[in-house]
C-alpha cells in the first residue's frame, strides 16, 4: 500500500510540475540564439558558477557575445572547451609556429641614456617624457610592458634591462609585440636557424653611433657581403630574410657594430650575464 502511495505521490508531483513546466515553456517561450542552446548542451549544466557567471546559460550567452573565454568552464575541462570551440567555429589554423624576438641589443652597457627617468615603470608612460630616456629613439626602454603583456610568462626582464624570450614557453601570440610602444618585438619563425640584425633603429648612422654601440648604422657592409642576397635595406636598417639566410656568418664578420648575430647565440650572452649576475 505504501509503495503505491509513494508511486502516486512521486508521480503526482512529477506530473504536476511536468505539466506546469510544459505549459510555461509553451506560453513563456523566448526566442534565443540557437548557438546558445548548442553551447548550453555542451556545458555540464551543473550551474556551479565556477566560470564566474550566474549559470551555464549566462556563460553561454557571454560566449556568444564574446565576453567570455571558451575555456571558462572548469568542471567541463578541455573536452567542453573543444566542443564550444567547434560550435563557435573558432578553429586554430595550422600555421608555421612563430616566436617573439626582441630586436634591440642596446642594453644598459651598450646604449646611452639621455637622462634618468623616475616614475611609473611603464614604457608607454616613460616615453611621454622627452620621448623616452634612451638616446636612441627606437631602442628598448626595458620597463617591461612586454613582460606584463605575456600571459604565458615567456618573457622576463634580463639583468641589463633587455627582455629575454623563453622560446619554449612562447606561443607566438604577439601580445608582447602589440604592447611594445617602439615596435621592437617582432614575430619570427621558431627555431634558432639563421642570422638576424638585432636592431630596430631607423636613425642615420651618425645618430646611431652617438647613442648606441651595437646599433645598425645602415652602412650596407652586410648587404654587400651576403652571398645569398638575403639582406636588404629598410631605410637605414638592414633586414635579413630568414628564408634565404644559410647561416654562413659572413655578415657577422663584416658588421663593425655587432648588430648581427646568429640566432642561436643571440640569447646566449644575456643568459650568461644573468648567471654571472646571480652568482
Amino acid at each position: 500500500m505504501q509503495i503505491l502511495f509513494a508511486v502516486i505521490a512521486l508521480g503526482g508531483v512529477g506530473a504536476f510540475f511536468g505539466l506546469l513546466l510544459g505549459l510555461a515553456a509553451r506560453f513563456f517561450a523566448v526566442p534565443t540564439d540557437s548557438r546558445i542552446e548548442a553551447i548550453r548542451e555542451a556545458l555540464p549544466g551543473a550551474n556551479c558558477g565556477a566560470c564566474a557567471y550566474a549559470g551555464c546559460n549566462q556563460y553561454a550567452e557571454a560566449i556568444i557575445e564574446e565576453r567570455a573565454p571558451l575555456n571558462g568552464c572548469i568542471p567541463g575541462g578541455a573536452m567542453t572547451a573543444e566542443a564550444i570551440a567547434a560550435i563557435m567555429g573558432e578553429e586554430v589554423d595550422a600555421v608555421e609556429p612563430v616566436v617573439a624576438a626582441v630586436f634591440c641589443r642596446g642594453d644598459q652597457r651598450h646604449a646611452r641614456d639621455l637622462f634618468t627617468y623616475h616614475g611609473i615603470l611603464d614604457c608607454d608612460y616613460a616615453q611621454q617624457f622627452h620621448g623616452g630616456f634612451k638616446a636612441c629613439p627606437d631602442g628598448c626602454l626595458g620597463l617591461g610592458n612586454c613582460v606584463r603583456a605575456c600571459p604565458f610568462e615567456a618573457i622576463s626582464m634580463g639583468p641589463r634591462g633587455l627582455p629575454l624570450v623563453d622560446q619554449s614557453a612562447c606561443t607566438g601570440c604577439g601580445l608582447c609585440a602589440e604592447a611594445c610602444p617602439r615596435d621592437i618585438i617582432r614575430l619570427v619563425p621558431q627555431g634558432d636557424q639563421g642570422h638576424l640584425v638585432w636592431c630596430s633603429s631607423q636613425q642615420r648612422g651618425k645618430t646611431v653611433t652617438r647613442s648606441c654601440e651595437v646599433g645598425c648604422t645602415g652602412c650596407r657592409a652586410c648587404v654587400r657581403a651576403c652571398p645569398q642576397e638575403a639582406i636588404s635595406m629598410e631605410g637605414y636598417l638592414a633586414v635579413i630574410d630568414l628564408q634565404k639566410c644559410d647561416d654562413c656568418g659572413l655578415c657577422v664578420e663584416k658588421c663593425r657594430f655587432g648588430s648581427i648575430l646568429p640566432r642561436r647565440e643571440s640569447a646566449a650572452p644575456a643568459a650568461a650575464e644573468s648567471e654571472a649576475a646571480s652568482a
Binding site: G14, A46, C48, P75, G77
Partner: protein, 207 residues
C-alpha cells in the same frame, strides 16, 4: 601516460580533475564534516557510492531520457540513491549518520555528482561512466581525507578518533590548536591546501 581508457578515467578524477583541489566543487560537505578523519572517510564512501550508482544509471538511461527533462530526471535518480544511502547509514552506522547530519541528504545538490552526470555519464557508455564515477569519487574522498587529517591532527591531537584505531598523537599534555576544528580553520586550511596543490601542480607542470 596511461593508455588504458578506463584507468585514465579513474586517474583523471583523482589527480588532474580532482573535485576538491582542482575543480573546487562540493565545498559544503568538504568544509563541514572534515573535523575528524572518520567523518571524512564516511562522507567520501557515501559520495563514491552515490556517484558510481548515479553515473551508471544515467549512462544506461542516456538514450531514453528526453533532453528537456534531463536535469530533473538526473536529480530524481541522484535523490533516490542518496535516500537509500541515508537509510543505510542510519541503520548501520548511526553515530556517523548523526555526525554527518544534514550533509548526507545534501549530497543530492553536490555539484560533483550532477556535474559528472551531465558532463560525462550523459554522453559516455556505461562502463566508462562507472570508472569515471569511481575516479571522481576517489578523488573527492582523497581530498576529504587530506583535509580531515590535517584538521584532526592539529585540532584534536589525534588520529582516527572515535574509531577502534584511535591514536593520541602528542601525549596527554598536548593542547590542540582548536581553530582547526572550527569553521574558520576549515576555510583557512582548505585555502592553504589549494595554494599548495597549485604550487605542486605547477612544479610538476600538470595542467
Amino acid at each position: 601516460m596511461i593508455d588504458n581508457v578506463y584507468l585514465s578515467d579513474i586517474s583523471r578524477g583523482i589527480l588532474k580533475e580532482n573535485p576538491i583541489f582542482r575543480l573546487v566543487l562540493g565545498m559544503c560537505p568538504t568544509l563541514a564534516i572534515t573535523v575528524l578523519v572518520k567523518n571524512g572517510l564516511g562522507m567520501g564512501l557515501a559520495v563514491i557510492a552515490v556517484l558510481t550508482c548515479s553515473n551508471v544509471v544515467v549512462s544506461s538511461l542516456r538514450r531514453y531520457i528526453p533532453e528537456q527533462v534531463r536535469i530533473p530526471c538526473y536529480i530524481v535518480i541522484i535523490a533516490t540513491f542518496v535516500t537509500i544511502i541515508e537509510m543505510v547509514l542510519q541503520a548501520f552506522v548511526p553515530a556517523l549518520y548523526d555526525a554527518l547530519g544534514v550533509f548526507v541528504p545534501l549530497i543530492v545538490v553536490n555539484c560533483i555528482i550532477l556535474g559528472r552526470a551531465e558532463a560525462f555519464a550523459g554522453k559516455q557508455p556505461v562502463l566508462r561512466s562507472l570508472f569515471d564515477g569511481i575516479g571522481s569519487g576517489l578523488g573527492f574522498t582523497l581530498g576529504l581525507l587530506v583535509l580531515s587529517l590535517v584538521r584532526e591532527v592539529f585540532g584534536n591531537g589525534t588520529l582516527l578518533a572515535e574509531t577502534k584505531m584511535a591514536v593520541q598523537l602528542f601525549g596527554a599534555n598536548f593542547e590542540p590548536m582548536r581553530i582547526f576544528a572550527q569553521p574558520a580553520g576549515a576555510f583557512i586550511v582548505l585555502g592553504l591546501l589549494l595554494a599548495l596543490t597549485n604550487i605542486v601542480f605547477k612544479r610538476l607542470q600538470i595542467d
